[in-house]
């Protein structure tokens, strides 16, 4: 067991830090505004030009074949530098791992390089109005058509969909509950998109209405009917390493400690606890990365990470709200707080995660 970075890892960190120091823009407008969306896309393209938008991908798709530890180093530097949020998040961290694991080589070549450059920006489309936490209750369907499928139904809580070019999600092709769901990519141009404004008034999500949108077979990932298994693998990666890297929380914790430095000791104490918890999340992730590299399955243990980071994030931003009081709105902390409030809900509510931990990690009865 050791915790020392290799020479190569340290060199990589130095390169990333240096590049970011020279390129990170002033805070762009929210990616949920038209101009902010374009600014974030331009930033992704700039990142891609330095092969930094998806460092862990193979070079042929636009990455640089970085190790998991290097990816974690990249993330630490990225968030410490105050770089913008990732408008390509859904594609790079959710869809791409699915394409790597279950897609065809043609699909990877067709979509990954453009995703790395943000030529296409992807929206996820999991939830439906009557299937929020209960994904197996999905009713949107794909019907067989000549050389492809026609999509019908409604999706909701589709993040980025207000401005994205493409989307991906599960559609029912047969059967009930977990059976007969198919994993489909689709262009958003023929989908009716109704943006849904959030607490901050901006459309971070949208509802999608499908009325026979045609997609060719090449837009289906894996076998028809095998979507649940494929999506669960992606959800597991969503909950695990790739959704929320420690770098984000380390940067927040550093800023929080600075904010609390002259505060009441009772508040400074809570900040210290958050800072240590961010470290715990970082170390835990180094351990997870080691396990993944060694070929181990992480499986339901990733639910522990989801519970931990989402509640840490909310504690950190809630404490910042207390520290700032009525002045919170003049800082980025208010937006961060509103975003953090969603943490215990999305990517599987924390109640569901706790049940998964209890049943599948601890072995308690259903």
């Amino acid at each position: 067991m050791d915790l020392d970075f290799t020479r190569a890892e340290r060199d990589f960190r130095a390169e990333v830090r240096d590049w970011l120091a020279r390129h990170v823009p002033e805070r762009p407008p929210s990616m949920d505004t038209p101009e902010g969306f374009e600014a974030h896309r331009a930033w992704e393209a700039l990142l891609a030009s330095a092969r930094l938008s998806a460092v862990s991908w193979p070079e042929e798709y636009g990455g640089r074949g970085a190790s998991l530890v290097e990816w974690l180093i990249f993330e630490e530097e990225y968030w410490a530098a105050g770089a913008p949020g990732r408008v390509s998040q859904n594609g790079i961290f959710l869809l791409a791992p699915t394409l790597m694991a279950f897609g065809t080589e043609e699909q990877r070549r067709a979509w990954l390089p453009g995703m790395a450059r943000a030529d296409q920006v992807w929206a996820q489309a999991w939830s439906e109005p009557e299937a929020g936490s209960d994904l197996a209750a999905l009713t949107s369907r794909a019907e067989r058509a000549d050389g492809g499928w026609r999509l019908y139904g409604q999706k909701t809580w589709s993040s980025r969909a207000a401005y994205a070019s493409h989307g991906f999600g599960l559609f029912r092709t047969s059967g009930a509950r977990h059976k007969g769901l198919t994993y489909v990519m689709f262009p958003l141009e023929d989908v009716a998109v109704r943006p849904v404004a959030q607490l901050d008034g901006l459309p971070g999500f949208a509802e999608l209405f499908f009325d026979g949108v045609y997609v060719p077979d090449t837009m289906v990932i894996g076998e028809p009917g095998d979507g649940w298994r494929i999506a669960m693998a992606a959800t597991s990666s969503e909950r695990g390493l790739t959704l929320r890297s420690p770098g984000r929380f380390l940067a927040t914790a550093d800023r929080l400690v600075a904010l609390a430095r002259d505060a009441d000791p009772a508040l400074a104490d809570r900040a210290a606890r958050c800072w240590i918890d961010a470290e715990a999340y970082r170390l835990h992730t180094f351990h997870t990365a080691r396990r993944i590299t060694a070929g181990e399955e992480i499986g339901p243990a990733s639910s522990m990470g989801k519970v931990f980071w989402s509640e840490l994030d909310l504690r950190m931003h809630g404490l910042a709200m207390e520290l700032l009081g009525e002045r919170a709105g003049t800082t980025p902390w208010l937006d961060g707080f509103l975003f953090a409030l969603a943490g215990p809900i999305y990517a599987g509510t924390n109640e569901i995660q706790r049940t998964i931990i209890a049943e599948r990690v601890l072995g308690l009865p259903r």
Binding site: A197, Q198, L199, M321, E322, A342, I345, T349
Partner: protein
């Protein structure tokens, strides 16, 4: 000892509730800056604490408390506490205060700004906070004030920084008015928390997932039970503080009642009410799931109000630090 609201106090709240149900529905929060104000004025709400010699009812803060809670429950926009509670303490001689024709806003000591100052006729601006000491305040007319909007979470309680060219010094002590404002805000927070709980319970009864109403799941039940407990035990601290604010002043008719530390009681009320409302807000969001975040749902107004009022007149941590200091002084006597 009769620690319950009187029928009169409850009847007043009932009247205010009826007015707000009719004239301040959630839809009004989207379209109006001052829904229901004229109607509230018509039932005498803004004159409750105004002395009889200025055409008011000369009631005590505790008499108005259930009614103030209703203004929180309804998420009533506008400088409610400042006009109905602060002004009668600081500006009792201003004509037409009791009739609701004059609106007042306040920048408290150390406060970032004045709520809904653009809707106010008069703005009380406190001297910068000098930790515990009453630094005095001035009154500024709306036309002499320059307002700079401060971004914040609450679209129906907008803060503005206030600068001014002309002002009149206030000749009354600020501290009692601020204590009353803090307690009144705590009462509003109780109202906000109760509404958030009701809405969450209603949603949990109707929303189904995994084949059952989500309110049948233990995790949801226990979370909402915790909110109910927090609200139930915060409310009496607020009611006690309202009595303490008045009881600290000797009453001719009664013996002097001993309130060892009014400020401590006020801080206890505000801290507990703010934390109960915050818990209610978190639970409401977690119960509603992603839909709770949408602009379409009315829930967001109450969430925002919980956050904005929690910070108003000092946050929970600030008030608890004051309590801590008071206790470190060694006087553990209680009121009553």
């Amino acid at each position: 000892m009769d620690f319950a609201f009187t029928p009169d106090q409850l009847a007043l709240a009932e009247t205010v509730r009826d007015v707000l149900t009719e004239h301040c529905p959630a839809s009004a929060l989207r379209s109006e800056r001052l829904p229901a104000w004229d109607r509230l004025a018509a039932v005498g709400f803004f004159g409750l604490l105004v002395p009889p010699e200025a055409d008011g009812l000369g009631l005590c803060l505790v008499d108005a408390l259930p009614a103030l809670e209703e203004t929180g429950r309804a998420c009533l926009p506008g400088p409610v506490v400042e006009t109905a509670v602060v002004a009668p303490y600081l500006l009792p001689g201003v004509p037409k205060l009791a009739s609701g024709a004059v609106r007042v806003s306040v920048v408290p000591p150390g406060g970032a700004g004045a709520p809904d100052a653009d809707l106010a006729d008069l703005i009380v601006v406190a001297a910068p906070s000098t930790r515990g000491r009453d630094g005095g305040a001035v009154v500024v007319g709306r036309e002499a004030a320059r307002l700079r909007p401060l971004p914040g979470p609450d679209p129906c309680r907008r803060l503005s920084e206030v600068t001014y060219t002309e002002s009149t010094p206030l000749d009354r002590p600020l501290a009692p008015a601020l204590r009353a404002a803090t307690v009144a805000t705590a009462a509003q927070l109780i109202g906000v928390a109760r509404r958030l709980l009701e809405v969450s319970v209603a949603y949990a009864r109707s929303r189904r997932q995994f084949g059952a109403p989500i309110g049948s799941f233990q995790a949801v039940k226990h979370r909402l039970a915790d909110v109910a407990v927090a609200v139930a035990f915060a409310a009496p601290l607020v009611h006690r503080a309202a009595l303490a604010v008045e009881a600290a002043v000797p009453d001719a008719g009664l013996e002097v009642r001993a309130v060892p530390d009014v400020g401590r009681d006020v801080s206890a009320a505000k801290a507990a009410a703010g934390e109960a409302a915050d818990l209610a807000a978190r639970a409401a969001l977690q119960t509603h799931g992603a839909i709770g975040y949408t602009e379409e749902l009315d829930l967001r107004f109450w969430l925002a109000r919980a956050w904005s009022l929690s910070a108003a007149y000092g946050g929970a941590a600030e008030h608890r630090a004051r309590i801590r200091e008071a206790l470190a002084g060694g006087d553990l006597r209680r009121y009553p």
